[in-house]
Symmetry: C2
Subunit: 342 residues, 2 copies
């Protein structure tokens, strides 16, 4: 980066590489990185140029954070919770089962202290984080056969990762880690019983409804999953201040536009899926309550052995309760009424 | 504006004046204009300098649009629905009774065609529009006495403006137009029976609970009111392209951060209000249904006499139904469960 202020020297040329954890085919979630990169180029006459690479071109999707930490690339666009294998605390950066919805996640991160708590944790990995999208609550997965009781979950082979998978395991299920492209044949052959992916718009593309027609909701393990830009700390420090400011604004844009784009596309996709004979099913309350209990047992156990988790969990849990108390008033009553009149 | 590209000549100095429709005391909604202005200064080393004026300093709050239309100022931060007296179609720019919630409004505006439809209408007023915030669904107002039936609304003097006031009038109420500072004494003396303002955080400051302790929810006349930046078309055209791009990003930031800020502050304010003896009351379903019926009668009548309204209403209503169908699935079931477990 040049020593002279941008305003005197003209805008400096900066080229960064961004590795995405998503394939181009997931256009909405992948597209968040394009929103950032396109806006930054447009604001700087092309001088701050972030080139976006789909998962697998530089590093595999689930190694995006590592690539930023080590300086292979300057930044990535990923889900923090992909890295719960390193430390469960990464879950809070995206979503944990029965956690915050999309608006609550923004409130916690931007004004409730979440960003500071997480960045303190992320600094151990040599990165800074910026909110870079949200999918809204996801759907609860595709099942070959309906499930009615907690007993039906026992022995169930379900494709699900992370903390959601751990909660399912506590109910007796056998979580499976399967790449996106392998889900369909596994469901078709019956080597798995169920699989979760994203929501109607993304799920529709993979055609799961043909082999597992029972489409459950909600995806209680991710009520408002945030997508994150991780930036290498050293590279951020070298960025001219004007570009840092531009980056912050463009990340906000990626955040709000991804949520709006999913909200625009999901209703149309769900209508098409229902037209194709998909059977919409709600998770039985018995299963929801058992999963909720198992989730908070897991959280409290983790708090007893992991100080990083404990520090964030205590604050997050207070915030969650306060948010749900407020959302149960005007927002819930409005939505309930509006949905009853359509 | 300079003829040379910004990148060669250095960034040009542009000074704009923004008139807000809000007083500084409503810090969150007023603050949306500061978010825009501060980010633009930070991204341009102070060269694109928007000075923000509170309501009343240049023109009264409800004349902000006129000031932009006539070129008195380059832009304003206001609610489109303040101008329904000119044309009811302005209602769609903010919120109409039983309309879109905050996320749905973003989806419609950004991806559902709302922005294009509205900008075609707004161009008659010599302005362009940019989303610049949202309050979320507002509360339903402060009442001196509880209301239980549609009959109780008859003859009720309630401080409420715009289309919400028209719907109340169809139920027999007598809507009152009263400036913010005059509401408290009017409620205290009993010259009005009820008054709506915003939500817990803003309402708390004016102390209504001392004289009208029944706090109703939801504010069904504004499920997700958007705040708008209106920019004079000629001034926008003169703006260097790089500044136009920066403006777009900063407006997105103002949009998403205002919603998050309200979501952060409202739970705390509601808890304090409840601690002060406020009686939380839900609008009886009978009143909600009567208001909903009256609202859509009004919309259909207006469609019969106002082509501008009709053009937007038809598209908006289709979008609304599709959105509510989708939100009734995963989002509603998640929120309902989470709120039941707090």
């Amino acid at each position: 980066a040049p020593a002279a202020p941008a305003v005197q020297a003209g805008l400096p040329e900066i080229k960064w590489r961004l590795t995405s954890s998503f394939p181009k085919s997931l256009d909405t979630i992948y597209g968040g990185a394009d929103v950032l990169a396109n806006r930054l180029r447009a604001m700087t006459d092309g001088k701050f140029d972030i080139r976006v690479f789909p998962a697998g071109e530089i590093v595999p999707g689930l190694q995006a954070l590592d690539a930023v930490q080590q300086g292979t690339v300057e930044l990535c666009h990923t889900c923090s919770y992909y890295y719960v294998g390193k430390d469960k605390t990464f879950g809070f950066g995206t979503s944990v089962p029965f956690g915050l919805n999309a608006r609550q996640m923004n409130a916690w991160m931007m004004f409730g202290g979440g960003q500071q708590l997480l960045d303190e944790f992320f600094s151990n990995y040599n990165v800074l984080s910026f909110l870079g999208g949200n999918t809204g609550v996801q759907m609860g997965g595709w099942y070959r056969r309906p499930i009615k009781t907690v007993g039906d979950v026992n022995g169930l082979k379900i494709r699900i990762a992370g903390l959601g998978g751990e909660v399912f395991a506590r109910l007796g299920a056998i979580p499976q880690q399967i790449a996106g492209g392998d889900i369909y044949p596994s469901l078709e052959k019956g080597t798995i019983d169920a699989a979760e992916w994203v929501g109607p718009y993304d799920d529709e593309k993979l055609g799961f409804y043909k082999v597992a027609p029972h489409y459950y909701y909600p995806g209680w393990w991710e009520p408002g999953p945030a997508i994150t830009f991780f930036v290498n700390k050293g590279e951020w420090a070298k960025l001219p201040r004007l570009y840092q400011e531009a980056f912050r604004a463009a990340a906000h844009e990626a955040n709000v536009t991804m949520m709006a784009s999913y909200d625009d596309k999901n209703p149309q996709a769900l209508a098409r899926l229902l037209g194709n004979g998909v059977k919409l099913q709600v998770y039985p309350d018995e299963i929801m309550r058992a999963a909720y209990k198992a989730a908070f047992e897991l959280y409290n156990e983790e708090a007893g052995r992991n100080p990083a988790w404990a520090k964030i969990f205590i604050e997050w849990d207070k915030y969650r309760k306060s948010q749900n108390a407020w959302f149960s008033v005007a927002e819930a009553s409005t939505d309930r009424f509006l949905q009853s009149t359509r």
